[in-house]
Amino acid sequence: MPEQIVTQVISPDLKFVKEIIAAGGGDLKKCYQCSTCTVVCGMTPDESPFPRKEMLYAQWGMKDKLISNPDVWLCHQCSDCTAYCPRGAKPGEVLGAVRNMAIKNYSKPAGFASMVNEPKAAILLFAIPIALFLIFMMIQGHFTSGIPRGDGGIISFSKFMPPIPYVDFLFMPLAALVVLSFIFGIKDYWSDMSKHYGKPVGGDINKSITDTIIEILSHKRFEKCNVTKDRKISHLLVFYSFIGLAITTSIAVFYLYFLKWESPYPQTNIIKIIGNISGIALLIGITMMVSSRIKNQEKAGIGSYFDWLFIVIVYGVAATGMFAQIFRLLDIAVVAYPMYFAHLVFIFALFAYAPFSKMAHMIYRTTAMVFARHTGRDKLTT
């Protein structure tokens, strides 16, 4: 990188420092800039390495420099830095908090983000879908005339909460809004990154995108972690099970809207096989994540509320989905319906809050990785 000395005007933002601390970077002030973190980090590019400078930006409340910083996303929080930090400043946790702040900053509509960051708002997060689905139940008269059963008197969730006009009519527009929100977020983020960190080396943007996606699919970056080596497997499991569940959902859409075939489907059907494998993989993956966090908490830190909320939601989705299916098959209605109800609540939380919750990391991280690749910033991958 050519030496380019620019005088930079710094306006320390005390509020921002406090926000990062509140968002999980509680030890950031302990950093005394020895740069051990940068030396031990396996993810950092050779030029303008992280997280030493990010720690200073955070200490000095340099919001502009941090929020639009693509490097914080190159970090996969393997926590090697946190484990080796001589002052216990936990750089990994700080970068996690910074990413949280970035999500908060770019997510649209602005303002909703604090809902997923504020433990006090947790009840509200779940109260919204609970109320929504209770209303749906009321409209259908479930409380007065009972829950209708499917053909042959079996428990049928499509009778309990029909996709049309309830589930799909709720989730499809929600998904569209989420996508829209992400598009605007990415747009702002890309333009900020270009402004503060953009030094494009040219080349084909499409190639950068494809290469990035290939890299993500392979999970190669996780191999550079030391302290939390097992995260590659757990994240890979969660990642691919989400893909599996997305495929399951697509097939369901195809069955419902093209074949006009309502659930439940036989256990041997391809949709059930993919769905169940993905569900089990998700459960295993998320359990591994939780156990690894607990195991490594001394070295890597236990993680923020923001992280744990997302873990709870994913756990909830996987567990309630699996239990709803089991109790449906066992024909234990008193457990099966509440489980499915809970499943819908967690699915809602997963999707509706995606632009604000940790779910958004898949979008921003991908964007940052593409940017880093495209601007030649991320030498590690080239």
Binding site: I5, T7, V9, P12, L14, K29, Q33, R52, L56
Partner: protein
């Protein structure tokens, strides 16, 4: 006193197995002129039985003991026989541990050492202390800051009369001008109220302390135990008797008007001292408009660690700025304190305070070289910096800038003036007079009546900080009985200054107590001997007065030298200097050492090398080499001297006329930043011997035969090799031609 000689030889520590004791007994008896069967041999002389044997002999009238055993630097408690002249001969270290056992060479070395010890005992006498009359034990403390108050209190608590002199109208110094202090104990979170306030009260109420405020010292005459101190208070003078001084004159903040590059002169650029005054008002306000400051920048090392200003670290400024950052944060939680540092230096437990402050989100720190403070135009300033941890040049807006300025010792102005005077003096009278006319004379603090100048000296390159023998005895200065402590000696924090003051108080007490017993103060703290000149032979050449490192010798109106013995440290530099050789100590004289040299057996077919070794560093270094069993050439004979400054030129002719082939003078390093207790002995010896070399050359005696070597005590491992190399060189030159005569 008629001497009754007792010669003792220890068989222990392999001495008996390495030397033929029978032969040693015979030769020693011959030298001591006693019967061989009167020589006592014991298997372990330092054992209770051995000691008992000696004490028994003493009770039978034995009064002059020669103990052939181990080094005099060990077992000195065991071999302590008050009332008996005791000479220790170092057979173990210098023979058994450094020579091949049971060889002729080892045998003759042992016999020579025994003989020299016997000669020393024959020539020496039991010392009688020289106690001057009308001694005072009053301790004068100069300066009433944290160091002075602590020293005064500690000395007074120990039961000594203390006179505390402060030039300001009130006590407390800088410590009393603080809003709060850096915490001193775990968890280092809360700032503490200035502790000096209580100390002032205690000092003012103490029955043993007399306080002179608004006072300066007009004149200090005399010597330890007998100082006459003239104190001037509001136009009136009073002279008091005092025994010793503790110099705690403290410091001044560096003159910020020299820091224009850091914006000093702009209305809202202040010093850390001014910051304390502002904080005392309970609100951090700007001098320009009285508005509350919310973005306070601290510039560390403002003028410090900067070759243009103060090249040193002032030690307290980092903790002080962290403390002042806490003022900013505690007085307004919305305000930020930004600290731009070269390095944060908070030694010891204060590191915990640094960590605590660092954890405050509103305390922002970065390493930086501040290049400029510029006016933004909106009433605020930009702190411009480079080489920051951010990797780029930065500008940070601030509404108040605090320069963390460092310590200038109170002694600096007078030291600079005196240095300047010394320099022009070499250029002649005109230059000197011009200097005296053009240079304003600073106010001296002690106004000493010493020929070496009115103030405590400073080490070379020590920026005017008061003298300190910083390696061994940090409070010790080149003026006996004047001890420096606190920031006048070295930059330090308040708690360090307080412990420094306690140390200096102890040294002061040691001084008055030793003086009252007529023994040397330090470093020869056991020594009851003193230089005793035979004045009828004095030619008033003044060489002793010029060369005495401690100003202990002065001339009376007729130009005759006289001693102020309590200033003397018993190094013997006067003895070495005197061309008439009239200065002697009871156990150390020109004749005594000369006789030892002449007592060495010289044969035609063997080389003999004499080493005159300084007792402070060289002799312990030789002992250490012996402990490591490093061999030394068997032709070497070591004779301890108090200081190379005590070596008299006549010893050279003693040695070479006797047939000694080579002479080594083993002394301290000299040059900048002396750390030799006797300051310049080896340097003086070198000067004297440079003249000798010319004479040697004239006598057709190779001047290479005489060499001065400088060694530090920690170079013991190299020392034997240095000596052995010298012996080789002498062997190349060949034997002393005077051997046959």
């Amino acid at each position: 006193m008629e001497k009754k000689f007792g010669v003792y030889i220890c068989n222990g520590c392999s001495i008996g197995e390495s030397i033929n004791i029978e032969k040693l007994i015979k030769s020693s008896a011959r030298a001591a002129k006693i019967q061989p069967d009167a020589v006592r041999v014991h298997d372990i002389l330092c054992s209770p039985a051995g000691i008992e044997m000696i004490k028994n002999d003493i009770s039978q009238g034995m009064n002059t003991l020669i103990l052939g055993a181990c080094s005099p630097r060990v077992k000195f408690e065991e071999f302590d026989f008050p009332g008996a002249l005791t000479e220790r001969v170092n057979l173990r270290e210098f023979v058994v541990w450094t020579q091949d056992p049971n060889t002729d060479a080892a045998q003759s070395t042992a016999e020579d050492y025994m003989k020299m010890g016997i000669i020393k005992a024959q020539k020496g006498e039991l010392p009688e202390p020289n106690i001057l009359p009308d001694l005072s034990k009053t301790i004068v403390v100069v300066g009433g800051g944290i160091s002075g108050l602590t020293a005064a209190l500690d000395a007074a608590e120990a039961g000594y009369e203390v006179v505390l002199i402060e030039k300001e109208p009130q006590l407390g110094g800088w410590a009393a001008k603080l809003y709060k202090e850096v915490p001193r104990e775990f968890p280092y979170e809360k700032l503490i109220e200035p502790i000096v306030i209580n100390k002032i009260k205690e000092v003012e109420a103490h029955p043993n302390i007399r306080v002179y405020k608004s006072s300066t010292i007009e004149k200090t005459d005399g010597q330890p135990g007998l100082f006459d101190v003239t104190i001037r208070t509001n136009g009136t003078s009073e002279t008091i008797k005092a025994g010793v001084f503790i110099m705690t004159a403290g410091w001044q903040p560096y003159d910020a008007s020299k820091l224009v590059h850091l914006g000093y002169g702009m209305p809202d650029v202040i010093t850390n001292v001014q910051m304390e005054e502002i904080a005392k008002s309970g609100k951090i306000t700007r001098p320009s408009d009285g508005k509350e400051a919310k973005k306070v920048a601290f510039i560390q090392c403002a003028g410090s660690r900067d070759p243009e200003h103060l090249p040193y670290c002032s030690s307290f400024c980092c903790a002080t700025s962290l403390k002042q950052a806490k003022y900013v944060r505690e007085l307004n939680s919305e305000a930020v304190a930004m600290i731009f540092y070269k390095d944060i230096r908070t030694p010891g437990q204060t590191e915990i305070f640094y960590k605590n402050m660092q954890n405050d989100p509103g305390v922002l720190l970065t390493k930086a070289d501040v290049t400029k403070i510029s006016d933004i135009g909106n009433g605020n300033m930009f702190v411009e910096a480079e080489n920051t941890l951010l990797g780029e040049k930065i500008k940070v807006e601030a509404d108040l800038v605090v320069l963390a300025v460092g310590i200038v010792p109170a002694t600096r102005a007078s030291q600079e003036y005196l240095d300047g005077l010394t320099e022009v003096t070499t250029k002649g009278d005109d230059a000197k007079n011009a200097y005296l006319e053009s240079t304003p004379k600073p106010e001296f603090i002690l106004n000493l009546g010493y020929r070496q100048g009115p103030e405590i000296p400073s080490l070379e390159g020590a920026y005017g900080f008061a003298d300190s023998n910083f390696i061994c005895f940090q409070y010790e200065t080149r003026r006996t009985g004047i001890y420096a402590a606190g920031c006048v000696r070295q930059p330090m924090t308040m708690s360090e200054a307080a412990s420094d003051a306690a140390g200096a108080a102890l040294k002061a007490i040691q001084c008055v107590e030793h003086v009252s017993k007529g023994i040397a103060v330090h470093p020869r703290a056991w020594d009851a001997t003193f230089p005793d000149p035979m004045m009828i032979r004095c030619t008033s050449c003044k060489r002793c007065t010029e060369e005495c490192p401690f100003g202990a010798i002065d001339e009376d109106e007729k130009g005759t030298p006289f001693y102020r013995i309590n200033r003397c440290r018993r190094c013997g530099t006067c003895m070495g200097a005197c061309p008439e050789r009239i200065v002697s100590f009871k156990d150390f004289s020109v004749d005594l050492v000369g006789s030892m040299i002449r007592g060495i057996e010289v044969s035609e077919d063997e080389f003999r090398i004499v080493v005159l070794a300084c007792e402070n560093d060289s002799y312990p270094a030789l002992d250490s080499a012996a402990i490591k069993r490093i061999k030394i050439n068997s032709s070497v004979r070591i004779i301890p001297v108090r200081c190379l400054g005590a070596t008299n030129l006549v010893w050279v002719s003693d040695a070479f006329s006797k047939g000694i082939d080579g002479l080594i003078l083993l002394g301290c390093k000299y040059g900048e930043n002396y750390q030799c207790h006797f300051v310049k002995g080896s340097e003086l010896a070198n000067y004297r011997f440079s003249k000798v070399k010319e004479t040697l050359d004239k006598l057709q005696l190779e001047s290479d035969r005489c060499q001065l070597m400088q060694v530090a005590i920690n170079e013991y491992d190299k020392l034997p090799q240095m000596i052995n190399d010298f012996v080789e060189r002498i062997e190349e030159i060949g034997p002393n031609p005077f051997k046959d005569l």
